[in-house]
């Protein structure tokens, strides 16, 4: 069953198409990754999915309703740009955010306290919000998106600015909620998270879908065309080597992306002459490589000839 269905969604801002005939579906109980570079139209898409702004064309169907506003009490939303009332007590604030999502006040208050306890903020319940650290405030915002037990939760860059411990806590909560059947839409450009959490993705660029589907299928379709290399010595630039289209070199480890049909044995031979190889493994590509490749290709397509190329490591 689809929790979110977007069809031909289009939005223009003063002549610029921010979202262009976008089409994707999110199945219940999944973690869905909405990916794309800055300015690709992710936030605009999310806002239309929530009914915050109306689309110019196309439809959005959320939880079976063509009007997101009618089911908004069943949706949780953590915007990328988020704030809190500075002069409000933490528990009241959280309860308020729950109440405007339809909870009655006693329930909102009780759940707020429960969440604050769960997030280790029990002793800060009656502090003013501006007395909390940034990380603590993020926890409150995160709880606000889940307080009313929504069926669909849309998180826009949920992990930005989080330290590793809090990231861990958020991920645990997210997975726990997922197990209870909650569907998540995760908008991000942090590819490790996508790799680790998302089951389905939709990659957009300039408001258009570049790639979508189950992550495992997408990766499989790219074949084992990536080389995970561990090496020692000064290898110089791997980019000129036979069959290599892109390189991510970290000094001791590198990932080399092969052109379709390229012979990995040729590459191995060439590498042996340059560096001391400790590991050479053929793998499915990381989502980051796919992302760079697809976005790079899309960017090339959308550029006029003779334009500047910023992303040098991509050679499609």
């Amino acid at each position: 069953m689809q929790v979110l269905r977007v069809e031909d969604l289009t939005k223009e801002f003063s002549g610029v198409r921010a979202v262009d005939a976008l089409q994707f579906e999110v199945a219940r109980g999944k973690i869905f990754g909405l990916l794309g570079p800055n300015g690709s139209g992710k936030t605009t898409t999310i806002r239309m999915c929530l009914g915050i702004i109306p689309p110019d064309a196309g439809t959005v169907e959320v939880l079976g309703s063509p009007d997101p506003l009618r089911v908004r009490e069943r949706i949780g939303y953590l915007p990328e740009e988020r704030g809190l009332y500075a002069k409000m007590r933490v528990a009241d604030q959280l309860a308020f955010l729950g109440a405007i999502r339809g909870l009655d006040w006693p329930t909102a208050k009780r759940r707020a306290e429960w969440w604050l306890e769960r997030l280790g903020l029990k002793d800060r319940m009656s502090s003013l919000t501006n007395e909390l650290s940034k990380g603590m405030q993020q926890k409150v915002q995160f709880a606000a998106a889940l307080l009313h037990q929504p069926e669909l939760v849309i998180l826009d860059e949920p992990f930005s600015g989080l330290d590793p411990i809090n990231t861990r806590i958020f991920k645990d909560i997210l997975l726990e909620e997922k197990r209870r059947g909650v569907t998540f839409v995760l908008s991000t450009h942090r590819m490790e998270e996508v790799e680790a959490m998302c089951e389905e993705i939709c990659l957009i660029h300039s408001g258009r879908v570049v790639l979508k589907g189950a992550l495992s299928e997408i990766k499989a379709s790219y074949g084992k065309a990536s080389v995970a290399l561990e090496y020692e010595g000064q290898g110089g630039d791997f980019r000129g080597l036979p069959g290599v289209v892109s390189v991510q070199d970290s000094g001791r480890k590198a990932r080399l992306r092969l052109a379709p049909g390229a012979d990995s044995q040729e590459l191995l031979k060439a590498l042996v002459e340059r560096v001391r190889i400790r590991a050479f493994r053929l793998e499915e590509p990381h989502i980051e490589e796919i992302y760079l490749q697809e976005v790079g290709a899309a960017e090339l397509l959308s550029r006029k000839p003779g334009g500047d190329f910023r992303r040098e490591e991509v050679h499609p």
């Binding site: 915050i52 908004r72 949706i75 988020r82 500075a86 109440a99 339809g102 915002q141």
Partner: protein, 424 residues
């Protein structure tokens, strides 16, 4: 529109407004200041008025000097004591005056009177003093000198002085005929009560409306707005905010009115002596007036908070806000100063037109009703136009809210707003 959500926005907004230093401060301070003004000032003035006025008397001709001294002696408050008198020739006059002025400067004398013969009147008098701002003293001195002149003129005519003095004190009793019937009390009462009511409205809008506008900008700046807009619509958000601010304004007004009533019931009788005689409570505010005040307060307050909210929605920082609010404040100020014009000219064409323009109706029409009782159809039309204005503003503001709340960075120009609204 979901009532549950709106209720919680209202509740939060109300609490945020009321549990706020500025609110508490202004709620307490305004009655204290008004109280101080109405009750303390007369008391204080009474206290500072010198109990004793030490005067000198300089004269060129002996004639009437005795009578003047006697008349000055009869002044009771302040007690006038003629400490010194001296006759001078016209040639010496300026030299002696110079010396006396020096003595006044040094505080040896509070002032001195100089009498000179006059062809038209019997004498001319001039008063030289350090302090010439106290009208009470000046009036008393003038009265004393007039009585001397009058006595001298009447001497031998057989007309009794007493009668003439009474004639001089005769007053014109002012009775206003209106649809409410006849009322005593003239300009003073109308001016005072209209001004007080207009000021209350003006102040409440200014304090609460500005507070709300600031809060909206802060919600935008802290990016809280998107969290909220994920849960409620812009319309619900705006409605909740405006109602919340409205309630806080009414609370404030309630406290002020309560304070005034307490003051009137308990404190007024004690100091009533110091107020002008036509300022009786019944003269100040009638029930009908209270009704109109409530109507215009509610509608005016709604109109202006809506405008303030719309302006705030387009701003991204508080610095920007104060600049952007200026035109709205100007409207309010024009309305407020319109009251000063409307009180003496309640039926002038300008006043009538002003009182029918929604932005000015709450204050100007209120003033007109208070001093003139304009025809019912005009009042009704004013209220009707005001309601239309409020609804129009609300509609316009909701549109602005919808598109401007999520805008950051540069503030849209008015032309851009209009263009976007037309496109939407």
């Amino acid at each position: 529109m979901k009532r549950h959500q709106v209720y919680h926005i209202v509740r939060r907004e109300f609490l945020a407004r009321v549990c706020n230093k500025a609110f508490i401060f202004s709620t307490v301070l305004v009655p204290v200041l008004l109280g101080a003004y109405t009750f303390l000032v007369p008391v204080l003035f009474r206290g500072t008025t010198t109990d004793e006025l030490r005067l000198g008397l300089l004269y060129v001709s002996e004639a009437y000097v005795e009578e003047v001294v006697a008349a000055l002696d009869r002044i009771e408050r302040p007690k006038v004591i003629v400490v010194e008198r001296q006759g001078v020739s016209l040639a010496q006059r300026d030299e002696v005056r110079g010396r006396w002025s020096e003595r006044v400067k040094q505080g040896d004398l509070d002032g001195y009177l100089m009498l000179e013969p006059s062809e038209e009147l019997l004498f001319n008098a001039r008063y030289f003093a350090r302090e010439t701002g106290n009208i009470e003293i000046l009036v008393r001195l003038e009265d004393a000198l007039r009585s001397v002149l009058l006595q001298a003129v009447l001497e031998g005519t057989g007309v009794p002085l007493e009668k003439v003095a009474r004639v001089q004190r005769a007053e014109l009793e002012i009775v206003r005929i209106s649809e409410r019937g006849e009322e005593k009390g003239g300009f003073g009462a109308a001016f005072f009560s209209t001004f007080a009511l207009a000021f209350l409205l003006y102040l409440a809008v200014l304090i609460n409306g500005q507070g709300m506008a600031m809060a909206i900008v802060e919600e935008k700046a802290s990016r809280l707005i998107e969290v909220i807009l994920g849960a409620v619509t812009a319309m619900e958000f705006m409605t909740g905010k405006i109602i919340g601010v409205m309630l806080s304004g009414l609370t404030q007004l309630g406290i002020w009115v309560g304070c005034t009533l307490i003051a009137v019931l308990y404190a007024l009788p004690a100091v009533a002596v110091s107020l002008p005689p036509d300022l009786g409570l019944a003269n100040l505010v009638s029930l009908e007036m209270l009704f109109y005040f409530s109507v215009f307060f509610l509608l005016g307050y709604l109109l202006y908070t809506t405008i303030f909210a719309a302006v705030a929605a387009t701003c991204t920082s508080t610095e920007e806000l104060s600049q952007a609010l200026f035109p709205a404040m100007l409207l309010l100020m024009v309305a407020f100063f319109g009251v000063f014009f409307a009180i003496p000219n309640p039926d002038a064409t300008v006043t009538r037109v002003l009182s029918l323009i929604p932005f000015f109706t709450p204050l100007v029409m209120l003033a007109r009703i208070n001093v003139l009782s304009p025809p019912h159809w005009e009042i009704l039309l004013g209220i009707l136009l005001l309601i239309v204005g409020v609804l129009g503003c609300f509609w316009f503001c909701a549109k602005i809210f919808r598109f401007a709340l999520l805008l950051h960075g540069k503030r849209p120009t008015f032309a851009e707003i209009v263009r976007t609204l037309r496109a939407a």
